[in-house]
């Protein structure tokens, strides 16, 4: 075994893990916030996330076709794309809640979950349908922006691209904004109150339905931002590529303690790092017997083990089981 190689790639793997971790953290927020207020797994969140990526690529391609992609300063382009993706995903999340979840509130617990699975599948093919009709293609490539692919060599084995700095910076910005909204504003207090006790919150004069919509809006917007960053980072998207990251992000939310916002961030980072290390080292350490694909099994095993042995997660929000 080549020990030097193992140590040599370590910083690069660490960086990849952090990027992946922030991505998961952003998506996980959508799951965890909705679970916090409704105790409901929004299965369609993975499609809300990938929808953001598609809106992002459409905006970029649109700018490109009118020649503004290189004409505008690149930070402005990024902000534009992020805002568009967030707005679109946030509105989609609100619409989905209004159409498919709200009529089922109060029904037995499995009913809205099945409806959410249905929405998830429906949205995958809807995106495919629209893109097929509009562009005659549904595997889309993010247009490259030269600035983003610039790399700084920190040492012989590590280089950092502008792209990854943008992704990390963007994710940190989103998480910070969310922290401010939830903990420092009146609306945030209302969200926390509804999560704590819906009936009491409504007696205190909080419009519970509005707050639930708002939760979907914020969670969806975070997912949309993650979608755009996902596209920028990995380049290629298709309507079905949101599903597995979504499931992993849900794992991250459970890992950190579902319903717990800091937990989602911690869970996301932990899972991202674990996966990056598994992908890089499993094959090296086992002499090729177990390939990088086993990182998926690792993630799902974590999910299964946590749900069975420590359902409240690492940071431990108490999970109430409603029959």
């Amino acid at each position: 075994m080549d020990v030097e190689l193992l140590i040599g790639i370590f910083p690069q793997v660490l960086l990849d893990g952090i990027i992946l971790g922030f991505m998961y953290a952003l998506i996980a927020l959508g799951y965890t916030m909705v679970y916090g207020v409704l105790e409901f797994i929004n299965f369609a969140h993975s499609e809300i996330f990938i929808f953001g990526a598609f809106v992002g690529v459409e905006v970029l391609l649109g700018l490109k076709s009118i020649g503004l992609l290189d004409g505008l300063p690149w930070p402005l382009v990024l902000v534009l794309v992020l805002v568009a993706g967030m707005a679109a995903s946030g509105l989609l999340a609100v619409t989905v809640e209004r159409v498919a979840y709200r009529p089922l509130r109060g029904a037995p617990r499995l009913i809205p979950l099945i409806s959410a699975i249905g929405i998830s599948f429906f949205l995958q093919d809807l995106i495919r349908l629209v893109e097929s009709l509009w562009r005659n293609a549904f595997n889309l490539v993010y247009p490259t922006m030269d600035v983003l692919n610039l790399r700084f060599e920190l040492s012989e084995t590590i280089d950092v691209s502008v792209k990854s700095l943008v992704v990390i910076g963007g994710a940190l910005l989103m998480l910070w904004a969310l922290h401010l909204i939830v903990n420092r504003t009146k609306v945030g207090t209302a969200i926390r109150a509804v999560a704590e006790d819906q009936a009491a919150a409504s007696l205190m004069g909080i419009d519970v339905n509005r707050i639930i919509s708002l939760t979907f809006l914020i969670g969806g917007a975070m997912g949309g931002a993650a979608g755009v960053l996902f596209g920028v980072q990995y380049g290629l998207i298709n309507p079905y590529s949101g599903f597995i990251p979504g499931l992993k992000a849900f794992t991250a939310a459970v890992l950190g303690g579902i319903g717990n916002i800091p937990g989602a961030m911690v869970g996301g980072l932990v899972l991202g790092l674990l996966e990056a290390f598994a992908a890089a080292y499993l094959s090296l350490l086992t002499g090729g017997a177990f390939g990088a694909e086993y990182k998926d099994i690792l993630a799902f095993s974590i999910l299964i083990l946590i749900l069975i042995f420590r359902p409240k997660g690492l940071l431990g929000e108490v999970v109430r089981e409603r029959a």
Binding site: Q124, L133, S301
Partner: protein, 397 residues
Amino acid sequence: MIRSPIALALVGLSALAVATFPRSVLVFLFFQGSLLYVFKARMPEPLRWGLLAVSLLVLMPTIGYFNSYYLEVATQVGIFVALALGLNIVVGLAGLLDLGYVAFFAVGAYSWAIFGSPHANIIFGGESFPLAGWWFYVFLFVGLGTAAITGILLGLPVLRLHGDYLAIVTLGFGEVIRVLANNLDKPINLTNGPKGITPILRPPTPFGIPYGEFFYFLALLIVVAVIVVNRRLEDSHIGRAWEAIREDELAARAMGVSLVRMKLMAFACGASFAGVMGVLFSAKQVFINPESFTFLESIGVLAMVILGGMGSIPGAIVGATVVTVLNLQVLKGFSLWLNELKNAGVTILGFSLADLPTQFEPAKYERMVFGIILVLMMIFRPQGIFPARRRQRELAH
């Protein structure tokens, strides 16, 4: 009774129509629809069963003789009916939402695929595989057993979970099985990875029946067996214990229902049906790879159960038939029809169909079909098209 002559006329007319236009999808749908009418309309029981027996045992194979694709569709319907009935036990009766159900189907399929092909030589060495063809019949039971054991193995750790957590864990389990099937070509080559296993041996058929007919009749036989087992289970103390668990776990336990035993039994029963059909599927296809056992299939079977009505045997049968026919015939038929119109240069409201994007293929939208079924049923009719009898009785008072 006006319904009996209507039923007779429908079956006769539609069978005649299929014989006259063996290539028309619409006519075949008409035939299936009339069977559905016979299945559900009020008429004397002997007439109903007689008509169904004649249609399934005589008319269907005859149709298949003229157009073998219809026999293929009918066999697929049979496979999915058995799967839906199996999932119906787990989801409908015991109330345990299993999102990784197709994993058991995979276990059954791989059990015969490995031993019924030269692939097992790679694992065990030597030249003794594939096994002789008649082993297929033994493996129907081996597949059943293996799948049931897998069901228990999955059930054991998740006994404490319920509701949506159980759903997510079973989904994770299904994905783990798929990833394993995709990657267990090393260190030991068990599944041959994404390349899949082929050629899988087909069994010797009694009286030299051609394979199309053989698999159709075998699927039909298994479906009938599964239905009988289901009916017997439903009215036994086991079935009632399952429904008690579904309605209220705590109360069921207080009444002396053993949750551990009953839940494991539900998983094992549901899984075993899928296991048998898996063995049949692998022999029928000759080739299998992990692509046949994705989350999409699990949700497809769930959509069949939900559409028909959770906990309802006729519901599962009809749901499986409708969804399979939608996917195999209606979507594909629409695709073909559209292509013909395109090639003929038809224009609608000034829009030439030939300008439709090539990537727009209606046949590919099964997810949308499943999704629409799930959402609409949950919002407007959560009890399904044909609700379970016991549920109806519960709602009556």
